[in-house]
């Protein structure tokens, strides 16, 4: 199998998001978008031109935006509320909790430019706490697609699914994962590399880096399993049980290591199946810097993930 990282082009997942939205909205007139002066950053210019009445720009007012989404769902629409994920999840957190999740409205929350896409703009514009904030909202499905294909699948699934969904997108170009005969299964981890020595659980923009790490490890005789853990809530507990069988786990995410995918896996394994878990991600508020710099500083590279895998295996051997 060719390595995705080496052979494929890079894709901005927002293009897949908007292409899918255009197609869905063409056949289902209940679909509307709700935005906060974020038409451009959500790449919704063409959608607005085609469906002006179904593009609701509330202005710079995120709390209102999410509440309006709940109201639109009450009115029988299928709202896709799309905004920079830092403001969608941080500013409007109580609306997400109370009006969307607790009230159980059929609202789709689309977090754009998540993680540290706005690197140099700093921690106010980073969205690395969103998993920790949203994961405890039990009926809110949380999905972080790994590539353009999975983005299109997740958006299509969300439109058909009755219930609240958060889809976390990035603007960082990523390759298509090279997995034959893919089927999108929400709530289920997807195998990217087979292996029994250590299991690397990754999501979003970091999955292809985890695959590259597995390739580095393979060259030195370590068989690393790589799982695309795109659904963070509900958690695929069976996949974690199986991962724990390898004896060593690594989690990787473009997010904070407290409370995110790593937090979820550590929580689950500590209670059910104790095993070393090395969490790769961000420790807290980040300094000023470019995305490349901040990824490298925090081990979000093939080399960094491979090193974390060795650390996890060493802890297991102790």
């Amino acid at each position: 199998m060719a390595h995705a990282v080496e052979t494929a082009g890079l894709y901005d997942c927002r293009d897949a998001w908007v292409k899918t939205m255009m197609a869905l909205a063409e056949v289902d007139d209940r679909i509307v978008t709700v935005v906060n002066d974020s038409i451009g950053s959500s790449k919704l210019g063409a959608f607005q031109a085609r469906f002006p009445d179904r593009t609701i720009n509330v202005g710079i007012a995120e709390q209102c935006m999410v509440g309006v989404g709940a109201g639109l769902a009450n009115g029988g629409r299928i709202p896709f509320v799309s905004a920079a994920s830092c403001f969608l999840t941080g500013r409007a957190l109580e609306q997400v909790k109370a009006d969307v999740a607790y009230a159980d409205f059929n609202v789709k929350l689309i977090g754009q430019s998540s993680g540290i896409a706005y690197a140099e703009l700093g921690p106010t514009h980073h969205s690395i706490e969103d998993f920790a904030w949203l994961r405890p909202l039990t009926n809110l499905t949380v999905i972080c697609p790994a590539d353009a294909w999975e983005t299109a699948e997740a958006v299509t699934w969300a439109a058909a699914h009755e219930g609240p969904v958060y889809i976390r997108l990035s603007r960082m170009p990523v390759p298509l994962l090279d997995i034959p005969n893919r089927v999108f299964r929400p709530g289920k981890a997807e195998t990217v590399r087979e292996g029994q020595d250590v299991a690397i659980l990754a999501c979003g923009t970091t999955v292809h880096l985890a695959a590259a790490a597995a390739d580095l490890l393979k060259a030195v005789g370590i068989a690393a399993r790589v799982l695309n853990f795109s659904t963070i809530n509900p958690l695929d507990e069976a996949a974690i049980d199986a991962a724990a069988e390898t004896g060593a786990i690594v989690t990787v995410e473009e997010a904070g290591i407290r409370g995110g995918l790593g937090g979820a896996v550590a929580e689950y394994t500590a209670s059910n199946r104790p095993v070393p878990v090395e969490r790769v991600g961000f420790p807290g508020f980040l300094p000023t810097g470019s995305l490349e710099y901040l990824f490298k500083e925090h081990g979000l590279t093939a080399e960094g993930i491979a090193a974390a895998a060795r650390r996890s295996m060493m802890r297991a051997a102790r």
């Binding site: 002066d37 974020s38 038409i39 451009g40 950053s41 720009n57 509330v58 202005g59 710079i60 007012a61 995120e62 709390q63 209102c64 830092c86 403001f87 941080g90 500013r91 706005y118 140099e120 703009l121 700093g122 106010t124 514009h125 300094p287 000023t288 810097g289 470019s290 710099y293």
Partner: protein, 270 residues
């Protein structure tokens, strides 16, 4: 008047536009349209109105300035540097790795920054808190806060305005950078703000309308002694002010110049 501050304000504003645009050009990042609409307001405040001592950034009696529209950090950083808070060469690190000059201002990185901003609609509540602290301790300092106009779509501003009106925070002045553009479009086509003056009057403010690029007019209204109520100064401005191809253009909200555009801007900013 023996010591007319206007020539200095004018010179500082010109330098700020040139220097902040250079920062944006070198970083290939930033919000130059909003930098330029705010430049004359900031230059007038720091070189004609505010009582401060850059050697003592935490002096308790200092006047406070809160840059609520934190995305226009190029204008804030240049004015703070010109005011003596930090060396000019720090400006060259704008948004670089580990720089103190983050894309949005951080009070823990730079002296003179009163609070962290970036998410819109945060400056007003913090400014109201500063003003209440002054009110209950009988301090004489004044608090100025600059918001964008699109920013006023955030409800938090109106919650804070209501508190300010209710408590008659007469040492508080809100300045609105009324350039009539937000990120993607005009404010009035997105979510109507007018009549902004009547809105603030209804919230208990004394309201002034001023040309936000007229230093003398800004100086007069901003340095007038406190009255009975909080003040709202609606400064009518031009987004991208000073560079012909940037004025009134939404795309220069966060547009960055190429070499030819930078050169042309430097020719125009004289």
């Amino acid at each position: 008047m023996t010591n007319d501050p206007i020539p200095n304000i004018k010179a500082k504003a010109l330098w700020m536009r040139r220097r902040s645009f250079q920062m944006v050009y070198e970083a290939q990042l930033g919000h130059p349209g909003g930098d330029f609409s705010a430049t004359d307001i900031l230059a007038t405040l720091y070189f004609g109105v505010l009582n401060f001592d850059p050697a003592q950034p935490n002096w308790p009696e200092r006047d406070r300035f809160i840059m609520s529209k934190g995305h226009a950090s190029g204008s804030l950083y240049t004015v703070l540097s010109a005011a003596g808070y930090f060396p000019e060469d720090w400006l060259s690190t704008y948004m670089g790795n580990k720089s103190r000059l983050n894309g949005h201002p951080n009070r823990n990185y730079l002296p003179g920054v009163e609070t962290n901003t970036g998410p819109l609609g945060h400056g007003m509540p913090v400014a109201v808190g500063i003003a209440i602290a002054g009110q209950i301790t009988g301090a004489t300092y004044r608090t100025f806060v600059l918001t964008g106009d699109g920013e006023l779509q955030e409800g938090s501003n109106w919650e804070a305005a209501s508190v300010a009106g209710h408590r008659k925070l007469n040492h508080l002045t809100l300045i609105v950078d009324r350039n009539r553009l937000q990120q993607g479009a005009g404010t009035e086509e997105t979510n109507t703000l007018d009549p902004l003056d009547d809105r603030f009057r209804a919230f208990g403010f004394e309201v002034f309308m001023v040309d936000g690029h007229d230093h003398a007019a800004l100086l007069a209204v901003l340095s007038a002694p406190p009255g009975e109520k909080p003040r709202a100064v609606i400064a009518n401005t031009t987004k991208g002010k000073g560079v012909s191809f940037m004025e009134h253009q939404a795309k220069w909200h966060h547009g960055v110049p190429n070499a030819a555009q930078f050169a042309q801007a430097m020719e125009e900013l004289v």
